[in-house]
């Protein structure tokens, strides 16, 4: 047996996405140093991080496993409500209890939806899942809007500060650092997942879902696993949001925020993980600065809606689609990222 080298396709260009990721994390890490004298911008950056986690959770559903979830805010808001209620009624706001609670809330709710929507006897269509999750999100918003125990339309305010041992996580750089840490954990966890052999199955589902059962895959199981993980990530984001804002309201579980997560992801580039982060940053930063201009503030939702429409029609790969090829976005799974591979002849 003689060994020889086979070079990867030179057009494959493995590094653009990695470069974008490194640059993004460099910017995120430098935020506390760049913005230490601008607390309002640190607050904005923290919001971007938290909403990015929500967008990543949608990307895991739609961008990677083809589950069109219009209800990610349900898991997000439910976790927020849960930690707020536990803080109010039990006086408990430690991260060691709140974090597992939030994860559990996201997991249980997404499990419920997966059981109803993904494991029906008839194979669920994209529209069926989208409408099912959207209905769930809308129903949850209506429920909390009329339920006095959870503050009804006013939501729950004055949520206790999140604690790590004796330290209270106040808004500003400490909370940003915590959010960045949890965001990084979620991001790299997802990164490992989508580049694993499991990710290969997800990539195959996106390309030809019909084929997989004939080679032995129960597609719904893989979709459900991705959906559950997305629910957990949305739950963690919801917990951070509630503690950071000190408030959780009906809008945090409703279709409006769910649709925003869709916009973040589609704008940045679905199926890339880093794309939704960039999409969130673009929308939130633009919203923040344009909110001061009265005329634009009034038509901002309309502009966002138009932006979503234009992206869906003309640029389904989002902003990252301009610089990242399909091959790089989808990736290769068998032999890692080595440039050259040894085969035998």
């Amino acid at each position: 047996m003689k060994g020889r080298l086979v070079t990867r396709d030179p057009t494959s260009g493995i590094c653009v996405l990695a470069r974008v990721e490194i640059a993004t994390f460099f910017v995120l890490l430098s935020m506390p140093f760049l913005l230490w004298s601008r607390p309002e911008l640190i607050t904005l950056a923290t919001n971007v991080l938290i909403l990015s986690m929500l967008a990543i959770s949608f990307d895991l559903c739609w961008g990677y496993s083809g589950v069109m979830s219009f209800g990610q805010a349900l898991f997000f808001g439910a976790a927020g409500y849960l930690v707020a209620i536990v803080g109010r009624d039990l006086g408990f706001s430690s991260i060691w209890g709140s974090l597992p609670l939030a994860m559990l809330a996201g997991l249980c709710l997404s499990f419920l939806f997966a059981a109803i929507l993904l494991f029906d006897r008839i194979k669920p269509t994209t529209i069926f899942v989208a409408l099912g999750t959207l209905t769930g999100s809308y129903a949850a918003e209506r429920l909390v809007s009329g339920w006095q125990y959870v503050g009804a339309g006013n939501g729950l305010s004055s949520i206790r500060l999140l604690r790590i041992g004796p330290i209270e996580m106040v808004e500003g750089i400490p909370f940003y650092c915590l959010a960045l840490m949890l965001f990084s954990l979620c991001y790299f966890g997802c990164r490992v997942l989508v580049r694993s052999q499991f990710g290969l199955v997800l990539a195959a589902i996106r390309q030809n879902e019909e084929k997989l059962p004939f080679i032995g895959y129960c597609v719904q199981v893989y979709k459900a696993v991705a959906f559950l993980l997305a629910g957990v990530i949305a739950g963690v984001a919801g917990m951070l949001f509630a503690y950071h804002q000190g408030f959780v309201g009906p809008g945090n579980v409703g279709p409006s925020l769910s649709t925003a997560a869709v916009l973040y992801c589609l704008l940045g580039g679905p199926g890339t993980l880093i794309g939704p982060v960039l999409g969130t940053a673009v929308v939130e930063v633009a919203s923040y600065f344009l909110a001061d201009i009265d005329t634009i503030r009034q038509i901002w939702p309309l502009l966002l809606g138009l932006m979503l429409l234009i992206i869906v029609v003309f640029r389904p790969n989002g902003l990252l689609g301009f610089i990242v090829s399909d091959r790089e976005r989808i990736g290769s799974y068998g032999r890692g990222g080595s440039k050259q591979v040894r085969t035998t002849t």
Partner: protein, 247 residues
């Protein structure tokens, strides 16, 4: 062919609206070997393969695989049981490398949790490369499957189906769109496979079928005209109306 019964199709009927694609079809496959399924266009050959693989449900009749009734089983359950299907048109994953197309089939029996940890990626490398070499695709391992020629995609599709380690491999027109040279290579490849599993092949090229198949079943308008060796099939009285000059 003698040996344990692999597949036992009894009285299977399938209609699409008013069109009766299959009517009371019986088919028995015993032991390893190549079993050809021939018939004119619209005779129900591809439908029968899809019914066996679970792509279509049956209206009546039963299908048993290795003695177990799989009539109600899903395609996923049938694949797990040991039935692999190569579709008529190549269904390769065009945006994934050739290597990954094969790896996907090899890892199909792993649990999701094991796949998350990528623990079998290294151990499967030799198997994947061996499969690629067997089908003359090793030097294209890193090319996207969509960039392969039609004939190479057919080979990749067969290699993928075979990587599932089936006991019964269903091949729907494995030489469709191939050059004569590619057909000869495919014939040799299939001859080599038949010691590993039973093959049921739908093919329009009757010379190809005559060369490589041990048994042939003839379908016409959803009915089985007869089953036997090439010589026996040639003597079928009804066959003369369908294939008089060709078999």
């Amino acid at each position: 062919m003698n040996g344990a019964t692999i597949l036992d199709v009894r009285g299977v009927s399938k209609s699409f609206g008013a069109l009766k694609a299959l009517t009371g079809v019986d088919l028995l496959i015993q032991g390893a070997g190549l079993h050809g399924l021939i018939g004119p266009n619209g005779s129900g050959k591809s439908t029968l393969l899809k019914v066996i693989a679970g792509a279509h449900s049956v209206d009546s009749g039963s299908i048993a695989f290795k003695g177990r009734d799989i009539t109600k089983a899903t395609p996923y359950q049938r694949a797990r049981a040991g039935i692999s299907l190569k579709f008529q048109t190549p269904q390769v994953l065009p945006l994934l490398p050739v290597y990954d197309n094969i790896l996907l089939a090899f890892q199909a029996r792993e649990r999701p949790w094991a796949l998350m940890r990528s623990i079998s990626r290294r151990t499967m490398h030799q198997d994947v490369m061996a499969a690629l070499e067997r089908f003359h695709l090793a030097d294209r391992a890193d090319r996207l499957a969509g960039e392969l020629s039609h004939g190479e995609q057919q080979w990749l599709e067969i290699a993928t189906a075979l990587a599932c380690k089936p006991r019964l491999l269903l091949l729907d027109e494995p030489t469709g769109g191939m050059s004569p040279a590619e057909r000869r290579v495919t014939g040799r490849l299939l001859q080599a496979i038949k010691s590993d599993c039973a093959l049921l092949i739908v093919e329009h090229d009757l010379d190809f079928v005559r060369e490589i198949c041990d048994l042939i079943t003839v379908l016409n308008e959803g009915h089985v005209l007869g089953t036997g060796t090439v010589a026996e099939v040639q003597d079928l009285p009804n066959l003369k109306e369908v294939y008089t000059a060709r078999v």
